[in-house]
Amino acid sequence: MIDQVGTLRNLLADKDLLVAVGPGGVGKTTISAAMGLEAARRGRTVLVLTIDPAKRLAQALGLTGLDDQVQEVSTEELAVGGVDVPGKLYAAMLDTGRSFDALMARVAPNAQARERILNNRVYRAMAGTLARSHAYIAMERLYEAMDDPRFDLVIHDTPPTRNAIEILDAPGTLMAFLEDNVVKWFVRRPASGLRAKLWATGSAAVTRLLGLLAGQEFLDEIVAFFESFYELREGFRERAERARAYLRHPRSSFVVVSSADPSNLEDALALADGIRSRGVMIEAAVFNRAYEPLGEDPLEVVTSVDRVDAATRIERVWEDASSASVVRRLMVGVERVVAEAAAANARAVETTTKFNLSERTERVFVARLEDDIRDLEGLHRLSPWLCREG
């Protein structure tokens, strides 16, 4: 069933960057954190960058504050339980509002430029409130993390589906945006020939139009925004180029995380296609909560069970005639439960065969665990699935 056993384990051992992508609600953050812990257990120093971890998982990772600072995750609780973590695990949360401000502050050439952009109303409306800015921030955090000599593996948990592709495109979009002179369009300065030329080529009509649609005040603010933005372009360009290079580096890889649910799979497949069409390899697909462990070996995906006829069984098992009919009902029910679970496993296996990305891709099935994962021990429980021995 599992085609390329051990790929994910090797990725955790060798890569510099793993980007986890997938539809929402499949446990992407949990899998990212579990991969991080697993790599740390193998001696690496790992940073897990998450977008919006569920509260309990955030607590488990020590991300209790509202800031976006990198925190070292204490693995003491695991050591007590006899699990050795020779590496180090760090985590950081992506807080879009703050990160955007930090980004602007970093790329601004001087304090004046920084104040101008941070106080611009268009900028304020943009930062944090609107989803698209996630992509730029994710890119920026990535850049920062990759340049930090402390970490030898960065695991980047991304926002759901569409935005994951935007993260790939963000550096390019941003650069194209700067290079296409779009920004210059809106910039009143320099007073030299540029603006005059643009007006002459007809953009005046368009600018006027925008003024008409949105109101002069809005247009003025947009112009001011782009003017501030224009000053930052060099800083941006440099970062965008490096982020793009990191994402496409041979020591980077993408891991798709999905459930085995058909609608999630459809989204995940569309996403995988989008990523591959941008020339990026996907080397592992993790199907979280994909099956019910039914066999002796919890890692085995049991897809059919022998059915013993309840009537035969009750003859053998139950002697008390007065309760035989109730127990028969129970046995029929029990058989049905097990048969349904096996059938669901079979369907999960069947639907995920569509996810045939390449021969090198490992498909990892993770069992449905009894509890939601809320601490490091819980994350550690995923270890046998993520790192199967080849």
Binding site: G24, R121, L130, L209, L213, G215, L294, V327, V334, R336
Partner: protein, 342 residues
């Protein structure tokens, strides 16, 4: 939190609704609205709920339209049709569906508001400007809302073309983004067509006779948590009328309570007889019982924290639902809503 008080407060804020209207504004009468928005974490089965309700609305003689936003392509597999386009097309059983793409919505917006067609074409053909629209936030949201309100206004033969427009919003964040749009743009946009447009959206979104936002969730810890948080935000920050809460995929176990009292004795027997298979099966049943109990706990938590009519939908055994299955879910869901009404 005193839910009773906060709900009352929310209701008053909807705008001094006269008491006689209250029953008319009952969220249980969901299908009497024009614009039904649905939100919830990815993977909670939102699309199935939307398709099911649309099928039921059509069965009751209404003309429903399902609007799928952006990149999601779930409706085509539910209805077993080809790729959906920007133009509404019939997908079966009296239901229409469309894909609301950014490009189409932007084109509509331009054509509508730029009265000189040549200029509109020029704006749309301009690569640089297109990039600007793609990169600039809020443009997508404005174009989306613009299209939704156009669909709501659209008339054919003197009557609205669509009785009901179901909008499958892809995530909680997305829903809040649309609802926040007017606020985000407040103070930025001066008088002009854009201002009037934004005001128009607010009026439509906050008219409880027309628009309702329903929530879809799962009886699991994290989705339930997120739903409760979203509900709290909706109550404190938004005026949109709240529809129903759909709790999807509630696990069921078809073994009656009397039979279950024999689970322990049965396990004892299985062990005494060294019947591994039976022991394993009983063990699995216990796990499933636990799963069910935990889900019930989440249902109670949701019911306790959220003052909205609840529709409880059982987990489906088959993973690929036929259209009949989906239609049956719709029937069950609307029947439950009607029971809330009585």
């Amino acid at each position: 939190m005193d839910l009773g008080a906060s709900t009352a407060l929310c209701f008053t804020r909807i705008g001094g609704t006269p008491p006689s209207l209250v029953s008319f504004l009952d969220p249980a009468a969901l299908l009497d609205r024009r614009l039904l928005l649905f939100t919830g974490k990815g993977g909670v089965g939102k699309s199935t709920v939307v398709a099911a309700l649309a099928l039921e609305a059509a069965r009751r003689g209404r003309r429903p339209l399902i609007v799928e936003l952006g990149h999601r392509h779930t409706m085509k597999s539910i209805f077993g049709v080809g790729e959906l386009g920007y133009e509404p097309s019939p997908v079966g059983r009296g239901v229409h569906a469309m894909q609301l793409e950014f490009d189409g919505a932007l084109t509509d917006y331009m054509n509508e508001h730029v009265k000189v067609p040549r200029l509109a074409r020029r704006v749309l053909a301009n690569q640089a400007l297109r990039r600007f629209f793609e990169a600039a936030p809020a443009v997508g949201e404005i174009a989306t809302l613009n299209k939704l309100s156009a669909l709501e206004r659209e008339r054919r033969g003197g009557a609205p073309r669509w009785d009901l427009i179901f909008v499958d919003l892809d995530a909680t964040g997305h829903a809040l983004m649309l609802l926040n749009l007017a606020k985000v743009m407040d103070g930025l946009v001066g008088d002009g067509p854009l201002r009037r447009l934004l005001d128009g959206f607010s009026v439509l979104l906050n008219d409880p006779r027309k628009t309702m936002l329903s929530l879809v969730t799962l009886p699991r810890d994290l989705p339930a948590q997120e739903t409760v948080e979203l509900y709290t935000t909706l109550c404190s920050d938004h005026r949109i009328a709240r529809g129903a809460l759909f709790i999807n995929q509630i696990p069921s176990l078809h073994i009656d309570d009397e039979a279950l009292t024999f689970l322990d004795p049965l396990q004892d027997r299985a062990e005494a007889l060294d019947d591994h298979e039976l022991s394993r099966d009983v063990e699995i049943t216990r796990r499933m019982l636990m799963v069910r109990a935990r889900a019930q706990g989440q249902v109670s938590r949701l019911e306790g924290a959220i003052e909205m009519p609840v529709v409880k939908l059982e987990q489906q055994v088959s993973s690929h639902l036929s259209l009949d299955d989906v239609a049956a879910i719709g029937e069950v869901a609307v029947a439950q809503l009607e029971a809330h009404r009585d």
